[in-house]
């Protein structure tokens, strides 16, 4: 019964999408306002259908209805409640239901937001494009990726989710965050296509969708970082980023979206780069589909390849159509897209944004090439190759360093034209702080060229940002006689985009420092200990206390308890574990991490305690890893601030003396 209800919901959604497309198309053709108003209502029908389908699936999961093939494969009676719920996105078919739900939500939000302009052809075309995309995904779940398939013989118990997917509560957050990011980019994309079709590619669509783009970017950033956190804290191989093809697939749209967020500012101010921005947003959307294709088609080996299915050709065809449409539209409109803007100087904030885009495009190209290269080599020469961390590190590090430098310098560059004096005033002291940081780092023992540059540039950038906040707050203090805290808050509220962006940059700086420190200065060892025995690694004294075994419906867990001490202080008992699931042959290791502000102690259980009670532990001391997550927090906070509305300016108390800055620039010192 559930299967029929589920399929009915999906069919309903597909019908609503199709009806909406037809209605809107006719409405646009005939300039018929009532048809246009009707057409957009189908969007809410699509959302309703998506909600219904998800509810049916959750019902099946929660009631352990093993007559549904998806439930039998991804759920078992012993599966805890949380992982039963998250089973919705444990495998391909359910993931697409989640995608449809999120897409329905975003489309409904856009339809609601633009309800006053429902009869505007731009909005109508955008809604139409959105419904076409929704229709495609409905076709996927009604066709090759049907989550409501039934089994003729109902098993007494299911397989349960893949052990890796029921090990940690983070499973509840990582995929939905990623999807909120991926799917969110549909909105700027559909408006970009609408703009190309209607020929109205001035600034309108950009400002209309700016916030949606920023929201999607924020979610994607958090989703990617959650993935890194999961990799580190749950998977237990000791690192947070493996340059795995699926990880790269999530990074690619993030890179183009970051480039877009920056170059959009140039378009808003100078009216330039229209073609480039349209291409970026189309590329971002294509990359989200490509990423889904790489993850789900079974074409690439990956830790994420949980299921393989026949949707590969469908996704590839869809991707081809989207790319062809985008490229075709741009080629068709080519002449009309030329913008009348010009740049006054190669050293200005505008050109810094252009360099930013060049570097991000370069990064995206490197990651894409490295990921797709093994496939190319096999197709063209029949060679089976791997491309892994050494390649990606070597290629992305120089670009990353250039971006750090840019991040330090660009916010200080004025618009239009730079005078040397301005640069000196704004950057000299931060630059010296960066240089001195390098000296200190050298003194503390850092020897890698890359690391020194990263530390120096990071503190340079940080000092420049702090200076900008300080200058802005100080001006307000003088003008409005406010305290520091209030002045800073009001400064931020007066230009949330700028200051929110600067906070995001702080997050990036922290992440850069964490990346440099943890990749170059980690220690990793394996130790074999008997009960009560101790060993010292990198200043930490580890004592093996013994092991415990716990058995539950879900799994059997063997833990090794280890006490960590440093300099005489007891830092606690940590227990790396090995989890054995009844329906799986391999055991899943869970690391135990003592997180510190400067260093993490990372313990893994390599061999089960047998043979006279000796145990083999993996011990790693990783510096600065926590700053990755703290940086992520800054990213989230900064994005939220950037989305705030501008606080209207209050009249100053001493109008004659205070400078009335009209441009939303930091008040020049």
């Amino acid at each position: 019964m559930k299967a029929s209800l589920g399929v009915f919901a999906l069919a309903l959604g597909a019908s609503f999408a199709a009806l909406g497309i037809v209605t809107l198309a006719r409405g646009i053709r005939r300039s018929d306002d009532s048809l246009l108003r009707l057409g957009r209502r189908f969007v809410f029908g699509v959302l309703a259908a998506g909600i219904l389908a998800v509810l049916v699936m959750e019902w099946g999961l929660l009631s352990h209805d093993f007559s549904l093939q998806y439930v039998a494969e991804n759920n078992a009676r012993g599966t805890p409640l949380l992982f039963t719920i998250t089973g919705l996105w444990a495998a391909l078919e359910g993931s697409i239901l989640l995608w449809l739900l999120v897409l329905g939500g975003f489309l409904a939000f856009a339809a609601h937001k633009f309800r006053a302009r429902a009869t505007d052809p731009l909005v109508a075309w955008a809604t139409l494009v959105g419904l076409v995309i929704a229709l495609f995904f409905f076709a996927l779940v009604l066709g090759p990726a049907n989550p409501f398939k039934t089994l003729a013989v109902v098993p007494s118990d299911g397989n349960g989710p893949n052990p890796l997917l029921q090990n940690h509560p983070l499973m509840a957050f990582h995929p939905p965050m990623l999807y909120l990011g991926y799917v969110g980019f549909t909105i700027p994309f559909m408006f970009a296509i609408a703009a190309l079709i209607t020929g109205r590619f001035g600034e309108g669509w950009l400002t209309d969708t700016r916030r949606a783009t920023l929201v999607a970017w924020g979610f994607l950033s958090v989703g990617v970082l959650l993935g890194a956190w999961w990799s580190y804290e749950v998977l237990g191989w000791g690192g947070y980023w493996a340059w795995d093809p699926v990880e790269n697939a999530s990074l690619l749209p993030w890179l183009t979206a970051t480039a877009f967020i920056h170059s959009v500012i140039v378009q808003e101010r100078r009216g330039m780069l229209r073609v480039w921005n349209l291409s970026l947003i189309i590329a971002t959307f294509c990359l989200t589909i490509l990423g889904t294709f790489l993850t789900r088609s079974g074409i690439i080996n990956s830790v994420h390849s949980f299921t393989e299915s026949g949707i590969g050709p469908w996704l590839l065809t869809f991707l081809g159509l989207v790319a062809a449409t985008g490229i075709g539209l741009i080629a068709w409109r080519g002449d009309a897209l030329r913008a009348p803007g010009r740049l006054d100087s190669p050293v200005s904030r505008e050109s810094a944004f252009l360099v930013n885009n060049l570097l991000f495009a370069g990064l995206a190209f490197v990651v894409l090439l490295g990921t797709v290269y093994p496939l190319l080599a096999e197709a063209l020469q029949g060679r089976r190759l791997s491309v892994g961390e050494p390649y990606f590190e070597r290629m992305t590090t120089p670009i990353g360093i250039a971006l750090l430098f840019l991040m330090a310098v660009a916010p200080a560059l004025p618009w239009r034209v730079t005078k040397g004096e301005v640069l000196r005033r704004r950057l000299l002291i931060p630059a010296w702080i960066g240089g001195l940081t390098m000296v200190v780092a050298l003194g503390l023992g850092a020897r890698g060229l890359t690391d020194l540059l990263v530390f120096g540039l990071a503190s340079f950038a940080f000092a420049a940002i702090v200076r900008q906040f300080y200058v802005g707050a100080r001006a307000r203090r003088t003008a409005y006689k406010e305290g520091w805290v209030r002045a800073t808050a009001r400064t931020v509220r007066s230009n949330p985009r700028l200051y929110g962006g600067l906070i995001v940059h702080v997050g990036v700086i922290l992440i850069a420092i964490a990346l440099a420190a943890s990749s170059s200065y980690s220690t990793k060892e394996e130790v074999r200990l008997a009960k009560g025995e101790s060993v010292t690694v990198d200043g930490y004294r580890l004592t093996y206390l013994g092991n415990t075994v716990t058995v539950s419906d879900q799994k059997r867990v063997v833990k090794a308890r280890v006490r960590i001490e440093r300099g005489g202080d007891d830092l606690g008992v940590y227990a790396p574990a090995v989890n054995i699931f009844p329906n799986s042959t391999s055991a899943i290791g869970t690391p135990s991490v003592r997180t510190g502000l400067l260093r993490d102690v990372y313990l893994t259980l390599i061999s089960s305690p047998v043979e006279g009670g000796r145990v083999t532990l993996g011990v790693a001391v990783n510096p600065m890893v926590v700053w990755l997550w703290i940086g992520g927090g800054f990213l989230a906070v900064g994005t939220t601030i950037a989305l705030l509305p501008v606080l209207r300016r209050r009249r100053p108390e001493a109008p004659a003396e205070t400078p009335e800055a009209v441009e939303p620039d930091p008040v020049p010192a």
Partner: protein, 181 residues
């Protein structure tokens, strides 16, 4: 003169189509397929220098001139248990063959566990321990179980990654015999 965007768009389209075609041709193939063929086939077999469960040497000299089936396994690997019946019937069939030798090599396991398992299952062919997985490395194994067939003149004639069955074992044996001529 048309906007350069037009030409760039066409160039990008060509590249995208090219890459797309490449990806499309790969959709059918299984990336894990490369794990079903071993590089070792056709090369000289690595030297063996191990000891069996009683401490007696198991090495290339003691196996010289025989067709050897080498099977990498251990007691806690589930597919190894699945292939055990096939190995046992194969061993029974060739029990009287003086020129066929079966050697099971165990890595990542303890002597006692292996001894108990061998006794319980009635395994009657030579079992050698591989401390440090050196033999496994020498053979380029990617996991277990893996089975190799070595001809009397020391060339690896066949390899199977994953559980073997009677059919594949016989085929490997035949290939090894053919190899020597």
């Amino acid at each position: 003169m048309s906007h350069p965007a037009r030409w760039i768009a066409i160039a990008v389209a060509v590249v995208v189509v090219g890459v797309g075609v490449v990806l499309a041709t790969q959709v059918g193939s299984d990336p894990r397929a490369d794990t079903t063929t071993s590089q070792l086939v056709g090369d000289a077999a690595p030297e063996l220098a191990l000891r069996d469960l009683d401490g007696n040497p198991v090495d290339s000299t003691s196996l010289a001139g025989k067709t050897v089936i080498v099977n990498f396994w251990n007691t806690w690997c589930v597919p190894c248990r699945e292939e055990l019946p096939a190995l046992q019937s194969f061993a029974a069939r060739h029990h009287e063959d003086p020129d066929v030798a079966i050697v099971g090599i165990v890595r990542d396991d303890t002597l006692r566990t292996v001894r108990d398992h061998v006794k319980a299952e009635g395994i009657n062919w030579t079992i050698a321990m591989d401390p440090g997985s050196r033999a496994a490395l020498a053979f380029g194994t990617r996991g277990q179980p893996e089975t190799f067939a070595i001809s009397p003149d020391g060339i690896v004639a066949g390899a199977q990654i994953g559980p073997a069955n009677e059919d594949s074992l016989e085929k490997m044996l035949a290939a090894a015999r053919r190899q020597a001529g």
